[in-house]
């Protein structure tokens, strides 16, 4: 009985309180009798109209189509170069590099996990179109459409090729980055890819000093090591790599058949050319088989280990979410370990919400990070396992081929091939007679 009365009193009081706080004006707006002054309204300039978004999507489609044509059919490095410059100017400096296909991953992921968030259709288009084109033509998006790739490609002046073990090792980072970006987007914490996009601040000509310096350094590195972001960081590139392996048409170094002249060996600044293999000896095969079976067994172990590691980091990774950070700060203040309030904790206290509710919310988010950590860690474990397996499989190759996953279709290798010059009618077909 007493409890019920308390509840009723509380309800009545909260009604009264809400009346108090919604507030009539402290100083009522005046009636201007003498001057009959008209009270103006604030201006509300609108954002970019929707039609421009659709134009962007159309330009993307046209650029992808043109790029695919130029890489697969026309095989013209110069035309590709011009298209790349156009893409840099349009998608980069004109559209300020946002929204981009790389960041679109996060929007899609967020819309899957957050019921209230809906993705604008243009973002879906930006996400899907390059993937679809890659399934057909290979990484032609990277060739001449992506503005980030374009800016790196343009500063590549003195290519230095990396040893393949360095490439493999560094590329692991891109997978980890993709997993982290997906985890943080799925939990609604942050858009990691957007936050650490090194080149968007160059496109905008303004930004935080740290990101500008990061972009500048990457470009400096890119003068020597071609396309460092594309090869080792880009999370969209990870997806494109896998889809490109399955593409219907592929970029070939030679327009005709490979004569193993070896002239193209050092032509790729991105280390995407695979040399032909000589025949493997039986010992190579047997030792390879043993290793392969060991690694196949190791694969699930790696996945489980990775998953467990990822989940055990939930206390750290969950701090990416602002609610968890707030809850931790409030906890420190409530237990007297922190003396002052921050803006965020003061703002929270002002809302009068229950602190226990905040703690509960933060614990729920941590649980989501725990589960997400399993997937993230498991994904990284699987990637490591598959990479090791992939490096143990012996493949037979007779021709010089562009690696399907790594080749971005820049077209630099075309003019190294004598068959290409024949096609362009620059040289005559070699015959046996000299």
């Amino acid at each position: 009985m007493i409890c019920l009365r308390k509840i009723l009193i509380g309800l009545a009081l909260s009604l009264i309180l809400s009346g108090i706080t919604s507030g009539a004006d402290r100083f009522p707006p005046p009636d201007f009798v003498d001057t009959e002054h008209v009270i103006p309204s604030p201006t509300v300039p609108g954002p970019r109209q929707d039609i421009y978004e659709y134009i962007d999507a159309a330009v993307l489609l046209a650029a992808l189509g043109l790029s695919s044509y130029l890489v697969i059919r026309k095989r013209s490095r110069r035309a590709l170069f011009l298209l790349m410059v156009f893409s840099l100017l349009y998608f980069g400096f004109w559209r300020k590099g946002c929204v981009c296909s790389i960041g679109a991953i996060q929007n899609i992921v967020l819309s899957v996990f957050d019921r209230e968030y809906t993705v604008p259709i243009v973002v879906v288009v930006f996400f899907l179109l390059p993937l679809i084109f890659t399934l057909f033509f290979g990484r032609t998006f990277c060739a001449a459409v992506c503005p980030l790739g374009a800016v790196q490609d343009l500063v590549l002046l003195r290519p230095v090729s990396l040893p393949s073990w360095a490439e493999s090792g560094l590329r692991l980072f891109a997978y980890v980055y993709l997993g982290a970006a997906v985890l943080l987007a799925a939990t609604g914490s942050a858009f990691l890819i957007c936050r650490y996009d090194p080149f968007v601040s160059i496109f905008r000509l303004s930004g935080s000093l740290n990101i500008l310096i990061l972009g500048g350094c990457l470009l400096l590195i890119g003068v020597f090591i071609g396309r460092p972001y594309c090869r080792f960081i880009c999370p969209y590139g990870v997806i494109l790599r896998q889809l490109s392996r399955l593409s219907k048409w592929r970029v070939t170094i030679t327009p005709d058949e490979c004569i193993q002249c070896r002239l193209c060996e050092d032509s790729c600044p991105f280390g995407a050319i695979r040399k032909p293999t000589t025949n493997w000896s039986p010992q190579d095969f047997s030792s390879g088989k043993k290793r392969l079976s060991f690694l196949l067994v190791l694969l699930p172990v790696l996945a489980l280990l990775g998953g467990w590691a990822g989940s055990s980091l939930s206390a750290v990774t969950s701090r990416a979410h602002e609610t968890v950070r707030l809850a931790e700060r409030i906890y420190l203040e409530e237990t007297g370990k922190a003396e002052e309030t921050t803006d965020a904790s003061a703002a929270f206290r002002a809302t009068g919400k229950e602190i226990t509710g905040l703690y509960e919310e933060a614990s729920n988010i941590r649980a989501r990070f725990w589960l997400g950590g399993w997937f993230f860690g498991g994904f990284v474990g699987l990637v490591i396992g598959f990479k090791l397996i992939g490096l143990s499989v012996r493949r037979q190759r007779t021709d010089y081929q562009a690696d399907r996953a790594s080749c971005i279709g820049c077209g630099r290798c075309f003019e190294y091939c004598p068959k290409e010059h024949v096609r362009l009618k620059n040289a005559k077909e070699a015959t046996d007679k000299c």
């Binding site: 009081l13 002046l157 493999s168 003061a346 990284v380």
Partner: protein, 577 residues
Amino acid sequence: MKPRNNNTSEHVRATGSWYRSAIATAVISAVFSVVVCAFILLNHGRSRIVSTDEELELTNLRLEIKSRPDDEQLLSRIRQLDLQIRQQRMNGLDRSRKGSYLLLGGVVVLVISLKYAGTFRKRMPTFSSGTDKSKEQIREARFARWAIAAGAVILGSGTLFLAIRPKIDFLDTSAAGTSWPSIEEINKNWPCFRGPGGLGISAYTNVPDNWDGKTGNGILWKTKLPLPGNNSPVVWEDRIFLSGADPNERQVYCFDAISGKILWKGDVLGAPKSDDEPFEVMEDTGYAAPTVVTDGKRVCAIFATGDVGCFDFNGKKLWEINLGIPDSSYGYASSLAMYRNLILIQFDQGGAEDEKSELIAVDGFSGRIVWKIKRPVGNSWSSPIVVSIENQFQVITSADPWVISYDPAAGAELWRVNCMAGDIAPSPIYANGLIFVIEPYSKLVAIRPDGRGDVTETHIAWKMEEGGPDICSPVSNGEFIFLLATEGLLSCHKVADGKRVWEHDIQEYFQASPCLVGNKLYLLNEKGVMFVIEAGTEYKESAKCELGEDCHASPAFADGRIYVRGIENLYCIGNSD
């Protein structure tokens, strides 16, 4: 096949001039870009560092001019500095915009010229010597596997490093520590009006009972107060807090308990007021009648203008709010109370029918109003007390006509009793399971605090209707309750039934409320004379000490010390040892 070397070198020589000019352009644009880049960074650095210094100077000058509003030179210096800062900002923005375009242009020219120069330096395709390809590829694959393994180890060790760091577990309620002081800590200090719980009882019995203001005997120090006020000193460990105000300024002072020096003065600036009606308050009450409150981390003060300011122990202002000028006929005087991190303000104004009175709880961290509840009472000058009764905290308020108790956590009303009328200035106390409230010139009422809702009919233990003090709050040792009237009539009543045991007319005027130290009462009269009376079954004066200065505020008690606020000075009374 003829070697083509000669042609090649001729080819190179013929185009040498183009190559050189391309290189020259590259060098010039590289230097240009570096210079512009340095310029932009410098500009950025300047806007960060220099302008911060200037802004700090401007802030200080603006504070200064509040105390010297007619200083023309200072005024023009402020305006000049402000204009300078603004111009620098706009120029800085302009420069950085132009700089970024120039840098872009410089880099573009650099890249184009280098690329053009590169076309002259095309290298013949090379290929590695013809080693056994399969061995090479096996070796490369093995290195790559080790590289990936190394990557995995790096990731693993990074994870390990991060995972073993201490974590915060929200749901662990057994975690030690709170951000509010414990009951023990509160009881060791004098954190609000009339000490812990507002009961007027000193935790320390070793305070002196002998001093002389004229000779300075027994006075450890005295410090002049910059601004006047009727509020009592508040003590937390080695800090004493007071507030003072005049029509223009409101300040909070922090004194060092050992030396008596003012450690800092905090300004409560107050909301801009309209020039039309300057606010005036009754002279006897003053602008700083309410006593401040502290919890060991912050000190909060309220003034007659409705301005509330909160400072940390180092004098930094945490926040300041304004509740509006309270409609209080004698001037607002209710002191502040605190529960955990909430500052409780008994903001009574107008008449009961105006429905303007409120009990407001302000968050000590942020200054935001956490809850406020309307009170069906008129303006009052008593202060709320926070006491723990049977493991539940209650905020007890006394006003015309209701005495109301609230749960301080959310402001829910616990019980109310209709027994007061007129101008209520004495604050309630709690002793021996009863709440005691006084209606001036009329009665003393004892209420049982375990009711719910309107308990006027059921929970009044007894009423003593032979008159009551009009200003001073009572004090009780559990057996007897002592009332002190302004004109000097001290009476002792039994707590059990309110019957008077004795009364004695001291024939002095008192504004300070009596305090209990052990079994002695300390009564401070308007002339600054402290009467020490035995708290027993008959009137017995134990000591009488003169300060030599008028006093309106109640004293504060600490370990071996008494702090008395006179009209002009703060005194620390204690035995030097």
